[in-house]
Each structure stands twice: as C-alpha cells, then as structure tokens.
Amino acid sequence: MPFVEEYVDVAVVGAGHAGCEAALACARLGLETVVFTVSVDSIALMPCNPNIGGSSKGHLVRELDALGGEMGRVIDRTFIQSKMLNVSKGPAVHSLRAQADKAEYSRAMRMVLEETDRLQIVQGEVTEILTEDGKAAGVRLYSGAVYHARAVILCTGTYLKARCIYGDVSSYTGPNGLQAANHLTDSLKALGIEMYRFKTGTPARIDGRTIDYSRMEEQKGDERIVPFSFTTDPETVQIPQVSCWLTYTSEATHEIIRSSLDRSPLYSGAIEGTGPRYCPSIEDKVVRFADKERHQVFIEPEGRYTSEMYVGGMSSSLPEDVQHAMYHSVPGLEHAKIVRNAYAIEYDCINPQQLAPTLEFKKIKGLFSGGQFNGSSGYEEAACQGLVAGINAAMELLGREQIIIDRSQAYIGVLIDDLVTKENHEPYRMMTSRSEYRLLLRQDNADQRLTPLGYEVGLISKERYEKLLWKKEQIRQEKERLEKIMTGANAITQAFLERYKSTGLKTAASLAEILRRPEMKYEYLKEIDARMPDLPAEVTEQVEIDIKYDGYIRRQLKQVEQFRRMEQKKIPEDLDYDEIPSLRLEAVQKLKLCKPVSIGQASRISGVSPADISVLLIWLEQKKNKSGESLWKKN
C-alpha cells in the first residue's frame, strides 16, 4: 500500500512543554525537525494548574531561559499575575511564579514554533519507533506514514494508554478529553524498554460568575514584577494583573469525603497507577492528615478571556455527585457551577534509569526522551528535560560532544541526575530540598551559571553572551572596590550605623565588612560611599548577595569541589558488573540497571553501599593497571 515517506533529521513525538523545547532547540541548531502532536490545538497545553514557576520550579524556568529555552519568554508575554515567593527568606529560595493565561500561552508558543525555520508541525499519532542496527531511525504514524529520522525524541507526556477516571466513570482519553496514544507502548516494549504506570490528577474548573468572592481572601500579584527571562525588559511586564482567591475546606467537606471513600476509585482499587505524594488528592489529604481541621483552597483564573476558575488544592477522583457536594461545602462555592469535573489520569511512562544523564536511551542510540514520559511531573520539569534532550540529539547529529549538567551547576542537573539515578516510584517533582548546593544555584544567577554553556551549544547569541561577560566584570569590579574602600570609626559612619540600628565601629572597616552585617543593604551604603558607581540593579543584586553570604558560599564551593572529584572518576560504559567478585548481588543488579557514568553517580544509587563503591574502585584500579592507562586523573 502506498504511504507518505519523508526524511528529516529529528522527529519529536509530542508537542507539550518538553516537545516544544526539544523541537525548537533542534531546529535552531540547524536540523530539519518534525514535531508530532495528536492535535495541533493542544500544542503547549496546560491541562492542570494555570501557573508556571513556583518554589524551585521558578529556578528551573530561569535556568532553561539562561540555556536558550523558550518557556520564560512565552510566559513573560502571557502571564496575568506574577509573584516572587519566599522574599522574606534567603536569596537562594526566592522563586518566581506567574499565573498564565492558558489559551494565550499555548497560542504564543505555537506561534514561536510556526515561525521557526526548519520546524514542521504534523498532526498524527506515532505508533512505532523505527530502528536500524540498534539505532533510532524514524517513526511510523497511525496513518502508515513513515518519517525517517536520525534521532527521535519521545515527549509523550500523559498520553500513552491514558485513562481518565472519576467515581466509576472511566474513559480511555488523554487529558481534557483529548485522544490518547494507544499503540506506541507496545512498540517501546518490543524494543526492550521497561514501562511504569503512573497516576496524577486535576481538580474541577468552576464558572467564576457563580463564586461568592466576598467569602474569600484576595491574593494579589507583586507591585513590581520581575520577568522570567533574562532577555525580557522589566519595564514591559509591569501590566495590570488579575487576582487569585483563598478559601478553605470545612468540616462538612471532610465529612462528605469520609462518608464517600468507599466510592473512590483510589480506595476501591480501580486505579493502579502510582500517584504523587506531594500532589495528593483532597480525599488523600483528608485521610492522611485527619487531624487537620481545614485545607487551603486557591481559586485561580484560567485566563483573561474566560470565566473558568481552577480550584487549587482540591484534585479528586470521587464520583460526580460527591464532587458537587464537596465543592459546594467550601465557603464561597456554595452555589458554584462546575464546568469540568475533577479527574485522575493514569498513563504509561518509562523507568528513567534506562537513560543516560544526556537523556539518551542507553540501549538505543539516537533515541532520547523528556518530560512526563520520563516519570516527572510539572510543566517546568518537562520543558527542561525537553531542552536537554533536544540539545543532545542535535549534538549527536552534529558530531559534537553531548552535554551533561551536573548537580552543582543547576537544578536541571539535580532533576536529571535524580531521574536517571534514583529509584522513582511516583511522578517526580522538583523541590528545593533536593538540591545540595542551593546557595549557589539561585534563580538570580542562572545566567552566570548556564548562559556560557548555552552560548557554546549555539542557542545563545554572541550579543547576549557578551552582555553577560560585561555584567560579570561589573560585579567583579564592584566587589573588589567594596573590599578595598575603608571607612574609619568617624562621626559620619557612626551616625550612619546608628540610623540603621547597627552597632558602631571600633576600628576602621571595609564597606564589604559593613555590608556583611545582616541589617545592612547595598543601597544604604551610598550614604557613606561618595564614589559609589551607578550600576544596574542586576549587578548590585549580585554584588550584595556575593558579599553578604560569602562565608556560606565558600563552604558550598568547597563541598562542590569534593563532589566533582567523584564525578570525574568515570566508569567505562562496557563494564561487566557480573565479573566483579565480592560485589553484593543487590548492588550488581542496581548498577547493571543504572549503568552509572561516574563513581559519583554510582554512590547515589539507592541500594549501593559505601563498601560496594570501594569494591568498584579497586576493580577499576585493577583494570587500569592491566590496561596500563588511568581511568581517572591523578591528583
């Protein structure tokens, strides 16, 4: 039978947040790219919460932007409210979160795709991954069409064999009633890929006209808005914002839920997938935190041009009638009309330990993956993986070295390392506590950490890179100046210190020393610093943080140095763990599955003990002696 046959460089399966970034990266790096989606109208869809960023996720978006990704720029153009979280805490945990106009966000991202050269959008369901000699060679569509490609990137999100459930109603669809992808799993299994089944959920959407806001607290955005992208002019984002609203569940809500638990598919066993602990359904919260009298409920707008409101905090898979009663028991929602029910969704994804830290399948060269398909959750996590998978697919086709971002460089590194190294039994969400070196991995310095890499890869323009170099130089000079300039214990200084409730000086001190005091701020210093240069805010912010937290930063840098030493000890790809005597069986199994690239990564695998690491090191040393070459650099 005749069928369409095309030749491209890269085929991206799925056009969600991971797929969009992957496709854009490949096309921008000069490769002919095709991206497949079950519906062109669902490109960059936000089927769950209407916001981007948040604690640690805001970091991810800034990092993505610093590397040359798109999400930050698109949300800067389509947000309707913005807030910097944790501002009362240290600079490392400040995190940006924006409410998106969902429809606008999708439309804007789709337009970026459409305007990108070498990027082709195709509506269709991919049913088969084609391989040749153990390498990815293209995809086949449900229609029979074949796209030959030198690299394939899987970003299928929650669509694989998706099933949506509430009560005893279940339908085999993807999110929002979209068509599921029911065939690809079998092709992946045939390639020997191990699959997991995960579950997640979303709350109801309510008609905003039927909400009594007088019973809720208004949640406004920040007065001064900070953009996500380092390329966005801050003046362009100072726009009128819309509000969110806060209310609480009541004892009546909890009673309704408790008396209907037997009708929940979660508790009856109708749902098999593993759900995330950090994103529990409201029935889960009521059961697990029985002593809590009430839970917060955030009412968030879905966009400027719709009255639909998202009910944050109350995702559920209870039957429709229970949902109605439950939402109506919340103050302010007594007469609410529900537009879309809450539901749980089950889907196929992979065990990500089958991936290298480059996000390429260890078994199948040229096959990459990103996003929820890899067992993560969240738009931001997905986008970051999509970008890294896209970059590395491109690097491979261009004959250049693939990139690995490590834990000390970025939250992206933590995210990917956790996914490919640790056992993961639920959708993985980024959290600040997962990062060991977070004082270094701040959202405010993402450009300094990653833009040089983005430039090297080819996604950052020379102009942007040189701007960064200039910024770094200004920071360096100003820090040096503050360390050098001394002020004596004279009357002016003492009066200045007293004004800011700081203790007086006994001997002369540098301006940097004064700035280190917790109550001091950089801007105060100009009162005693006549020659303070007029520097942009992005520079003085870095100067202030670097000086104020110098001691802590240095401690972390030392930890990073030790961490890097273990990362540099590489493990050969073809190492046969069965050959190593006195390695415990459990360790052999774990190591065989994960195939760590370095001793550092091996030491993070759960189930591999320090003793196993010693054994591994000796074995490698022995091999080195046999082959006469060193596996790692001598100190």
Binding site: L85, A611, L617
Partner: protein, 458 residues
C-alpha cells in the same frame, strides 16, 4: 567545616605500648607541624624531604604528650598517595588517643572505617596483587568495622541519638516544606520556636558528651595527679597504690624528676596516676622542667591527690600549692600519721575546702577510706557509669562534637536573624554527623519526612 585531611590510630587500640597515629591529606604536614616539637630546634617539617624520620615530642599547648618518631611521606609516595605523616608513639593507648584527639582538634577529621584504604585505591596506589587480596576482604572488613562500632552503642545511647536525629529531621522537613510550599506552610514565629528546640537539643548533646567523658573515665581511668612538697611521700603513695617500688624513693628532696605514669585499680575504679616532682621553688633547671610539667598536668586532671606531710607544719610552699589547686577536684592525704601530728585536717580544710584522709604510706593505713571517698566522688552511688550510656570511641565523640558545633551555629544564625533557609545547612550537618555514628546517611529520609509529616500541594 570538615577538612579533607583524615587521621586515625593505624595500629589498632591494643594493649601494646607502641602504636602509630596516621594523618593523611592535604593538610597532614601542616597539622603535624603545629603539634610536633623537633628535638633539633628550628627544624621545619614542611621543608623536609619525603621518606624522612624526625625525632621530637608531641605537645598540646605546653604539655608534652609523648616522645615520638615522626615519619614524613609526601604525595604521591605514601600508602594513600597523599601527604602523610605517621607518628610513632610509645605512651600506650591512652596517650595515642590523646594525640589523635589533638590532631583532630588541630584540623583533621576522624577517618571513617577503611578510609585510608579507600583513598589508596582512589589514588591508584594499590598494585595488582594487593588489589586482588584486599578486594576479597574489604567488604567484610568495612561492614564488620561498622557493625562493631555500632555494636558499641547499645540501648539508651542508641535510642537517644536516634531520637535526636528524628527531632532534627522533623525541623529540616518543616523548613523545607515551608520553602517548597510557602502558601500552605508558614514560618511565622518559627525561628523563636526552633531556637527553643535547638537549646533542648544542645542540652541533650551536652549530656551525651558528658557521658562520653564519664565513659572515658570508666574505661581509661581517672586522670590523677599526685602532688605535694618534695618528700611529702608522693612516690611512697604511688608505691603503696601499685604495690611495687617503681618510683625512686629517697630522703633527698627532688629525686623524682620524671613524670611517671601508672594505672592503679582501687575498688571499681581505675586511676591513671601521674607522679610529679615535688612542687617548690627551685633553681635547678632540670628539676624545674618537672615542676612545670606538674603544673601543666594539673590542667587535664580529673583528680588531684595532694600529699601533705602531717608531721611538719604547713608552710609557704603548701599555701602556694593549695592556691594552684583551687579549681580542682582534690583529695588531701595527710601522710605520715604514724609520726606525731603537726598538721591537723582542720588546718588544711581552713584553706582548701576538700575532703582529707588520714594516711600512712609506711603502715599502709587509710587506703580503705580513700577508696570509699573515690567511689562516692566518681560513681556517685548510681549507675551514671552504665557502660551502655556512653560514647566510647573517638570517632563517635568527634561526630557528636561536630553535631553540637553545628547546632550551635543554628542558634547563632537564629540570633543573627538570618533567613530560615540558612538553618537548613547546619541542621543538615548536625543530622549527617549524628548519622555517621549510626552508619546512616540522609538519602531519601528528608523527602519521605516532608511527604509523611506535612500536607503539601495542589
């Protein structure tokens, strides 16, 4: 701050008199330089060649701990392929432990079981045959070392440390959940609450460290210094206690010039006795060294036995000695009660409010009273000395001290008004330090605790 230089007793804490303390890492030579006084004045270790030996003493402040031979090996020509210093000590296990403690205080950290070997492998110092041999045993060795060190912790102390860790983890998880989900979990008023909790935790680590000290006393003996005017009968006392004529006893004042060390058992207690040259003003330089040492050894003493010749009146020398003893735990032994008494207990007690025992070294009377007094003083009639409640290993103690130090830093950060996320750093250090005692690391503990205890998210 953990340094990357490690130290341990390399020969095992056996009863043998000679042993080796090994220091390895970038700062090994610098650390040794700070505590080693070469016999040849002005010799600098940092300027010496690799594979050289150096004779001298290990000093803690002004106190001489031991006469040693020091072996210097520079990277990569050592077992670990790092700068390494080995200190050959002669002073027995007690002195070795003190030297190790001193090395740790000076900047090294206690080595984990098998860590020297691990570094040796890491740095490519093990050849083929060695590697094969060690490989077969290392696993057993590491696990055994860990098991045996955990086995040292029994019952109450194990539970105490676990409880401490649980409390710390709860606080870390609380802070983290608030940072991850600031709209659900509030830190309002939290620093004050944490401050109180940290104070309580510090009390508990304090108790554990005191118990560690008591455990040391029980295991290694009470560091006891015998002091008194020349010829008051100090050496005779020692001889009575040991039942041997070890110290040279003569009628000539100042005969005992060296500090002698002896272990004596009295009832259920061990005294680690140092006999000193009699304290008195002296022009004799050689003797002066002995006097200075005596003063120095008072610093570390758990107990001072002050021997007074009761057949002569108290004089200026006695008053000077008693001045030295003001802040010490002292028992006064009124010796020579076989002779007519010139100095009565009351006369001593007037100056120094401490118990006195009438005693005769010659007739060996008064020992039973001394024994009772010691048990009252150190055993307190109660089971504080329960072996199970003590941290006996140097590694455990060092880890506990590290945990205490980190908790203090948390208190400091709270006092300074640092943002809450900074507490995380030191709380985590404390948690990890306590974990090293139990052989556990953070791993997935934190994430599990956050999800288990705090309600988060959409």
């Amino acid at each position: 701050m953990k340094s990357d230089t490690i130290a341990a007793v390399a020969t095992g804490m056996t009863g043998a008199g000679i042993g080796v303390v090994r220091i390895s890492g970038e700062e090994a030579i610098e650390i040794a330089e700070q505590i080693f006084h070469p016999a040849k004045e002005g010799k600098k270790l940092t300027e010496q060649k690799t594979y050289t030996m150096h004779y001298g003493t290990i000093v803690d402040g002004e106190e001489i701990l031991d006469e040693v031979i020091l072996l210097l090996m520079k990277a990569p020509h050592s077992y670990t392929a790092e700068d390494t210093v080995e200190i050959d000590c002669h002073g027995g296990s007690y002195v070795m432990k003190r030297i190790l403690e001193l090395v740790i205080r000076t900047g090294a950290r206690a080595a984990e079981p098998g860590e020297f070997t691990r570094r040796a492998f890491l740095n490519g110092r093990i050849d083929l045959s060695q590697a094969e041999a060690v490989m077969d045993i290392i696993q057993a060795k590491n696990e055994h070392a860990l098991r045996s060190s955990v086995r040292q912790l029994k019952g109450s102390v194990l539970r105490l440390i676990q409880k401490l860790r649980e409390q710390i983890l709860y606080e870390i998880a609380f802070i983290e959940s608030a940072l991850d989900d600031p709209e659900h979990v509030s830190l309002e008023g939290y620093p004050g609450r944490l401050g109180e909790k940290v104070d309580n935790l510090l009390k508990e680590t304090g108790v554990l460290l005191i118990r560690a000290e008591q455990g040391r006393i029980l295991k290694e003996g009470i560091r006891t210094v015998i002091i008194g005017k020349p010829n008051a009968g100090k050496s005779s006392l020692l001889n009575v206690l040991t039942g041997e004529a070890r110290a040279i006893v003569t009628e000539i004042p100042g005969t005992t010039r060296d500090v002698l060390e002896e272990q004596v058992r009295i009832g259920g207690l061990i005294l680690d006795v140092v006999d000193t040259a009699g304290i008195r003003r002296t022009e004799d330089l050689v003797e002066k060294i002995g006097v200075d040492r005596a003063k120095e050894s008072l610093k570390d003493a758990d107990l001072v036995l002050y021997v007074v010749d009761s057949s002569t009146p108290l004089d200026e020398n006695d008053r000077e000695i008693m001045e030295l003893l003001k802040d010490q735990r002292v028992i006064v032994l009124l010796n020579k009660t076989d002779l007519p008494m010139e100095t009565a207990p009351e006369m001593v007690e007037e100056i120094l409010a401490v118990p006195t025992v009438a005693f005769s070294a010659k007739e060996e009377t008064g020992l039973d009273v001394l024994e009772e007094l010691l048990e009252e003083m150190f055993l307190d009639g109660k089971a504080v000395f329960d072996d199970e409640a003590c941290l006996t290993s140097v590694r455990h103690r060092a880890a506990m001290e590290e945990a205490e130090e980190s908790l203090k830093k948390v208190a400091e950060s709270i006092a300074l008004g640092m943002p809450e996320d900074f507490y995380f750093i030191d709380l985590t250090d404390a948690y990890e330090a306590l974990g090293r005692i139990l052989g556990e690391s953070m791993g997935e503990d934190l994430v599990n605790e956050i999800f288990g205890k705090f309600c988060m998210g959409k």
